[in-house]
């Protein structure tokens, strides 16, 4: 069995978001980049499948050479090989097409992505990639079990969950629930040493046309100071919610 895990390289969650060049470019100065948190859940799920079935795991990223430390980290966690598709990942549909072009020839049984990248929050790559590869797609996947090639996947729905059945190949876009927080793997020294010897290949990008482009960024307006209310006077809060905020 062959598993592909798609890894998005994103600013860590504590990052203060800033822009430069007249608010047209993300300012990566001082930003630490990490594996997209949703992809970490996916990679850990893939590791468990690897441990029980002997599957091999390939991790892929569409990005510049600067994303290689993120791929190495995925190798240290336990992926077998890494592939970097050399392109600037500006548009979700382009990323999906480039990964599809690569994956078509590889016949992966299972493709694991995150539900969305925490930077652009597109939620675009997984559904498009599945469609380009013509395989079933489970979004917001919070549970996944395999028996041979039969899969049972649980997805989040508004206010609940749905259980689906199907056969491989398929693509799941994961999040917490796929594995629990405490099951996430932190690369150990041995893993980091071994990762140095694992293959990381760079492939040239084919068609990099985009359909959407960023025009500009904006930061939210800063909030006015908070109105403090005395704990002994909660009636005032109710009053303000009624007369000032007009929500009750």
């Amino acid at each position: 069995m062959k598993i592909l895990v798609c890894i998005s390289h994103v600013p860590d969650t504590t990052s203060k978001i800033k822009f430069t060049n007249n608010q047209t470019e993300f300012d990566s100065n001082g930003i630490t980049f990490v594996i997209n948190p949703y992809d970490e859940f996916g990679l850990t799920r893939a590791m468990k499948i690897k441990e029980s079935t002997g599957a091999t795991i390939t991790v892929v990223n569409v990005g510049a050479a600067s994303t290689e430390p993120t791929l190495r980290k995925a190798l240290a966690i336990g992926a077998d090989e890494a592939v970097r598709i050399d392109a600037d990942p500006k548009d979700g549909s382009t990323v999906a097409r480039l990964i599809a072009d690569y994956a078509k020839e590889q016949n992966f049984d299972l493709i694991v992505t995150g539900r969305e990248s925490i930077d652009y929050n597109g939620g675009i790559v997984p559904g498009m990639l599945a469609t380009y590869l013509d395989i079933p797609f489970v979004n917001a996947c919070i549970g996944f079990e395999l028996e041979g090639t039969n899969a049972k996947a649980v997805r989040e729905i508004d206010g609940g969950k749905e259980t689906l059945e199907g056969t491989l190949p398929m693509l799941i876009a994961g999040q917490k629930g796929l594995v629990e927080e405490k099951e996430l793997r932190i690369p150990a020294m041995r893993g980091i040493m071994m990762a140095r010897k694992k293959p990381l290949s760079v492939i040239a990008a084919g068609d990099t046309r985009v359909s959407t482009t960023v025009v500009s960024f904006e930061l939210p307006e800063t909030k006015a100071a908070c109105t403090m209310i005395d704990a002994g006077n909660v009636e005032q809060l109710v009053e303000l919610l009624h007369t000032e905020a007009k929500v009750i």
Partner: protein, 322 residues
């Protein structure tokens, strides 16, 4: 030319987010100088009411093969309806189902896809839309150069516009094939009567400050009084005090209700990221230095076990008098 809007139903009735999507589609159609056509699938709600939100026509799909949601089958049905009606732009609400079908449609149509939109397009040529990015830490204006486009809009971000009209209804025929339905639904597990977090107008949320799951009674009572959905911080769901489906924040559900009440939550950057789009934020925390106060509109420094019961009483009195 036309704008096609998919209206999602739950248990046969339209979701609130569907009315927002139709209002959005109608305003966009008006900008382009075309009509907004609504599409319903497996809905038993009164489709003519979509006219009230600006749809001139409603296409109803009632084929048995689409009785339950399936992302590929629904996406293909929407693509077929768009093609049959010359629609270049498709509007979808960014609900869980909407998120699953929008990219499939975009890939099938070679369309530009702009998700998480929070405003009407500022320009229609090229189509330019403002969307939420960086988990609500920023916004990004995107423009599309594609001839066909799909826009998915954030629930609760744009209200509805009503005009009192009724729409003309037509049936549209689409039968899903076995290649559409490669995944089969074995069970749906949804707490009935529960308000979904993304669509809720009010959200009452609590964090580790509540000390244990046994203390959530007052949170639920407060939520019940307000007709609010309940939410929690990430550690609370990680420890298992509350279900994962209530976890809000950067790596949980992103929300933008009218009112967010945060009880015993410190206001870490990752928590704020998912909730700071709320229109009004109330924070109750024992620590006057809690970072959440900087992001709040109203704050009470105090013990939740003292303040929340008092707030419940005050709200009961307010309700009785109004």
């Amino acid at each position: 030319m036309a704008v096609l809007v998919y209206t999602e139903s739950w248990n046969g009735s339209f979701k609130k987010a569907s009315f927002e999507a139709v209002s959005y589609a109608a305003q966009l159609a008006n900008k382009i100088g075309t009509e907004a056509i609504a599409l319903t699938i497996a809905s038993s709600d009164d489709a003519a009411q979509l006219g009230n939100y600006g749809a001139t026509k409603v296409l109803n799909i009632t084929n048995e093969s689409l009785a339950t949601f399936n992302n590929q089958a629904y996406a293909n049905a929407i693509v077929a309806a768009a093609e049959a009606n010359g629609a270049d732009t498709i509007i979808i609400s960014n609900t869980n189902n909407g998120k699953a079908i929008a990219p499939i449609i975009a890939a099938k149509r070679n369309a530009g896809l702009i998700t998480n939109a929070i405003e009407l397009p500022s320009s229609t040529s090229p189509l330019t839309v403002k969307r939420k990015t960086f988990s609500s830490k920023a916004f990004t204006n995107y423009s599309s150069t594609a001839a066909q486009n799909v826009i998915s809009i954030t629930p609760n971000a744009l209200g509805t516009i009503e005009n009192g009209a009724t729409a003309q209804i037509e049936s549209f025929d689409y039968t899903a094939t076995s290649s559409d339905n490669r995944l089969s639904s074995v069970s749906v597990d949804r707490a009935s009567g529960k308000i979904s977090l993304t669509e809720a107008d009010f959200v009452v949320s609590a964090g580790r400050g509540l000390k244990g799951p046994e203390n959530w009674g007052m949170v639920e009572e407060l939520a019940g009084l307000l007709g609010a959905a309940t939410a929690c911080s990430k550690p609370v769901s990680d420890i298992g005090w509350r279900p994962h489906s209530e976890h809000v924040g950067q790596t949980g559900i992103a929300i933008n209700p009218e009112l967010y009440i945060a009880i015993g939550i410190s206001g870490a950057i990752q928590h704020l990221a998912g909730v700071n789009a709320s229109k009004n934020i109330v924070v109750i925390n024992t620590d006057p230095e809690a970072p959440f106060f900087k992001a709040a509109d109203y704050g009470i420094v105090g013990d939740a076990f003292d303040v929340v019961p008092k707030l419940i009483e005050a709200l009961k009195i307010h309700k009785a008098n109004n």
